[in-house]
Amino acid sequence: MTSRETILKRTADALAPLTERAQYPDFKDDIAVMPALNRSGDLWAIFCERVKLVHGTPLSGGPATLANWIREKGLKHGYCDPALLPVFGDVLTAAGCAVETVFDRSRVDEYQFGITRAEAAIAETGTLVLTDATSSSRLAALAPWTHVAVLKREQIFADVASAVAKLPADPNVIWCTGPSRTADVEGILIEGVHGPGVQVAFLME
């Protein structure tokens, strides 16, 4: 007998004596949505409020807004999704920033920021949704200290339940709720452990 057969047989044997099995309960998809959430309101406004609670950075505007923010933060060198280069290339150059469109892992420490596209966002939790389909490089969205996810207004889900209902058929769906963090050392919150210390959600207007 293979181990697969052994485990399945043991499982069946373990459950055989049960005269009745617990039913799958009946519930609504939005059961765990916070009642305080105004789902018909301005989702970007809700997103901004919620993402600040988890120390994320919401920004909105045209390409120059992002370029200005990057210049103000003193960032000089980063990665940009090749599909976004036509949008941000010129303004970033004007802001004195050098960008690459291929993430060279051997120089991981040289990238101060990464700009990639978001698949979606969730207002309820201030969450950004990344996928293989929309992230040009998993590492570029993860390794630099600052990650900018570029988002469109119509991509925002109201709540977790609706985002779960529309999980994309992508092998790598990542929900990012604020920056990378730990409280392993004496319960003290530190941001920027393995992933970004600064997580920007940039709404392109």
Binding site: R21, A32, F103, I174, W175
Partner: protein, 476 residues
């Protein structure tokens, strides 16, 4: 033996460690309460619902396991099965050998602790590096995690700074920000140099075959972005029936575990990287691990398999807070461990049968459990089992009850004892055994009140020829 083993351990705990554990659990408990109660008017209903979903799942695992396997295979995942820890380790080792892999970066998985994966691989010349900050510190200290979510709850920053200095990660500095930054810098090059990334799974959807990983640090993300092969170790009880269930479970898990509304990273992984994606594993393996779980499934304590490893029961437990996680002598500490560890121990149940006694049965563990596991009930069942099996570990330091048993089961002996009990007031305390002397050092002997029941009962029969009416009873 003077004490139960867990009490014995608790007495050896230094004041510093006790304070670390107390502070860590207390803050976890407070954060959980705040997070649940500010979000929901009746969080209890959510816990109960989640409990029903998990109970349904484990009682239908015979259906869900083949279903999830089929979905995973269709998604391009290679699925393996491991009856026990040895087989699970062997699968991992074989997959690594097939790829000529020498280096693994691993995210936090409780199953890997259960099966001692790191030891197994290191003995065979492979590197197996923990990447969760807490687990990394545990690894360099050759220590063991003492909490499921906060593995180094028993360490303070000074101890960590000493360890970092010893390992050549910079001069002594106990600022948590510096400690974290050094780990970040050290570990990111390890991810990039590694061949294989290992993770566990917080949930697995039977409907879609997705595994769901929940982390705050982003270490599992990095593992799955930098390596060529992804291996996930999954306990067979990790399944939820449908994707829609995840909305509920993710909300409950984050709040119960750390008091966050949502964990920083929730990863839904269903297979190897997409064709357009330059980073990440081209191959994904899932190893379904039994390692005692089917035995628990056959047991009347199977409800413990609902557990989603949030640690809320550890944080709230007065015993855990005083004794710390290492006192439980197993991978799973706290109330959940007191049930799960003896059950997983199989034939060695009697050696672990003292753990179910490490509880005041206050019920707090049940009240905070996001899947509403009736832990106190399960503890009582296991206490009963330990007694019936004559477990020496469980019997340690319990007072001998033989004389009382004889007395209580013989009406005539009982009568004599009650009649003469008043004489105990005359017993000179200087003749008492040591334990009795300790008792009376700060207390007087209680006034004897026994022996009146029989007389009262007879009197009552004589005085109450007819049953009392409702009004009379009220007047009483």
């Amino acid at each position: 033996m003077k004490h139960q083993q867990i009490d014995q351990y608790a007495t050896t705990l230094s004041a510093g460690k006790r304070a670390s554990v107390y502070d860590g659990t207390k803050s976890g408990y407070d954060a959980r309460l705040r997070a649940l109660n500010t979000a929901y008017p009746t969080p209890d209903n959510l816990r109960k619902l989640a409990g029903q979903i998990k109970q349904h799942t484990i009682e239908n695992l015979d259906t869900y396991l083949p279903q999830v396997e089929a979905r995973m295979v269709a998604n391009g995942v290679k699925v393996h099965w491991a009856v026990d820890g040895g087989e699970a380790c062997a699968h991992v080792h074989r997959i690594m050998e097939e790829h000529g892999a020498k280096k693994m970066v691993k995210a936090k998985t409780m199953v890997s602790e259960e099966i001692h994966l790191a030891d197994y691989l290191e003995k065979r010349g492979m590197e197996c590096l923990e990447t969760d900050l807490g687990e990394f510190i545990i690894q360099i200290d050759h220590d063991h995690p003492s909490h499921i979510v906060k593995p180094i709850i028993h360490k303070n920053r000074r101890e960590i700074a000493v360890s970092f200095e010893r390992e050549g990660l910079g001069a002594y500095n106990d600022d948590p920000e510096v400690i974290t930054a050094r780990a970040r810098q050290f570990l990111r090059h390890k991810y990039l140099a590694a061949d294989v990334g290992l993770s566990g799974a917080n949930f697995v959807s039977a409907e879609s075959g997705r595994i769901v990983l929940v982390t705050n640090e982003g270490n599992s993300r990095f593992s799955i972005a930098a390596t060529k092969v992804h291996i996930a170790l999954v306990g067979i009880e990790k399944i939820v029936p449908r994707d829609r269930d995840l909305g509920l479970f993710l909300n409950l898990l984050a709040r119960s575990a750390t008091g966050q509304q949502f964990t920083s990273y929730t990863e839904f992984i269903s297979g190897p990287r997409s064709a357009n994606q330059p980073d990440g594993p081209g191959e994904m393996h899932v190893i379904f691990v039994d390692n005692g779980r089917t035995r628990v499934l056959a047991d009347d304590c199977r409800a413990i398999l609902r557990c989603i490893r949030c640690s809320a029961c550890l944080n709230v437990c007065p015993i855990y807070r005083q004794a710390s996680g290492h006192a439980y002598r197993a991978v799973y500490p706290g109330p959940v461990g007191a049930v799960l560890s003896p059950l997983l121990a199989g034939d060695k149940f009697p050696e672990m049968a003292d753990l179910p006694k490490a509880s005041s049965l206050c019920g707090a563990c049940n009240e905070v459990c996001p899947v509403n596991i009736p832990i106190p009930d399960l503890l009582l069942r296991l206490r009963d089992r330990g007694k019936r099996m004559h477990s020496k570990a469980a019997a340690a330091a319990t007072p001998p009850m033989g004389a009382f048993g004889m007395l209580a089961s013989s009406p005539s002996l009982w009568k004599i004892a009650m009649k003469t009990g008043g004489l105990s007031a005359l017993y000179p305390t200087c003749l008492m055994p040591a334990a009795g002397k300790t008792w009376v050092r700060t207390r007087g002997m209680p006034k004897w009140r026994g022996g009146k029941f029989r007389a009262w009962m007879q009197q009552r029969r004589a005085n109450a020829p007819a049953p009392a009416t409702q009004t009379e009873r009220k007047a009483d």
